[in-house]
Amino acid sequence: MNAEELKDRLCAQYPDLCESLSIESGRATLVVAAQDLHACAADLKDMGFDFLEMLTALDWGDEFELVYLLRSHEMAVSMFAKCRVLRDAPRVASLVDVWPAANWHEREVFDLFGISFDGHPDLRRLLLPEDWSGHPLRKDYEDERIVRRPDYI
């Protein structure tokens, strides 16, 4: 399967996602709804995306955006799968059963953004000490020990 066939197949499977799908220079972007995330991830793995390179998140104010970077070695295509969750209910399905590599990545995102992953086998903080409170990569994180950069720098 090459990139064009991949696009056809994805469009056939997800007609309503077809518009948001773009494949340029071996790099595809797919925007998924949070409730479809797990099913979609399993499909993508079947299509040949056998490697989860990275998982991170962004804070957009009232929403968080999860970014999964997938790689297919066979098709030589990378894909960004993006998924938005509401800040008030930051929960998505865990993808550990699809790509085991997601385990520590999800722990890291949980640690720094406070997004919960349903079905994760061991959702603990990964980088910060266990007794830390708060999730420091959220834009509204407050900590009295932080020294803010003054304006003149």
């Binding site: 910060l128 420091p136 994180y141 900590d143 020990r145 932080i146 020294v147 803010r148 950069r149 720098i153």
Partner: protein, 195 residues
């Protein structure tokens, strides 16, 4: 070291003990300063400079400063690299494991003040002197091996001046210019020689 410290305290009280004490101080200071077993706590990029220093090009063995990987064998701790809040208790524990007398060199801006992580960082300790007492502050991001060499030599001067009797401490004059010393260029312009 407890025996030596008691000896120092009791020698001071004896008549004529001061002479013996000074001689003993000189000997202790000389022998301690010539053999600094360093414990490298390399946590970030500064550790690369430390490693470069200890290899053959800069050859720190000639100062008698030999790195060992166990704090219980060492008397100088070189903290080279960023110390995060998660690492802070580890640093404290390693310091406590070192036998007395012990000294600490804070190598690099991160350990001096937090360095480039001073502002807006949620995770970095702003200077290891929040955790352990520091003898030599070595600025630089990272400091060059020559700067580290200077730090070792200054520490050596400090160790030499250290007395085994608690009340017999002598102050150490730093060889670094003070804040009110004219800078090199200005001094040359006025007096023709380095101030």
């Amino acid at each position: 070291m407890a025996i030596i410290d008691d000896l120092g305290a009791s020698l001071e009280k004896l008549p004529g003990g001061g002479v013996a004490l000074t001689t003993l101080d000189g000997f202790m200071g000389w022998s301690r300063s010539m053999s600094e077993w360093t414990y490298p706590l390399g946590t970030a990029c500064c550790a690369m400079e430390y490693i470069a220093s200890s290899f053959s090009r800069f050859d720190f063995d000639r100062h008698g400063s030999i790195p060992r990987s166990d704090p219980r064998h060492c008397d100088v701790m070189v903290v080279a690299g960023t110390i995060t809040r998660k690492m802070a208790p580890v640093l404290k524990r390693l310091y406590e494991q070192m036998p007395d007398p012990k000294w600490v060199i804070a190598m690099g801006n991160c350990t001096v003040s937090g360095g480039i992580f001073y502002y807006d960082s949620y995770s970095v300790v702003r200077g290891i002197d929040e955790i352990v007492p520091v003898d030599i502050y070595l600025a630089g991001c990272p400091p060059r091996p020559e700067a580290f060499q200077d730090a070792v030599l200054q520490l050596r001067a400090k160790i030499k001046a250290h007395s085994i009797a608690p009340s017999n401490e002598r102050p150490v004059r730093s060889t670094l210019p003070n804040a009110d010393t004219p800078r090199k260029g200005e001094g040359i312009a006025e007096g023709g020689e380095r101030s």
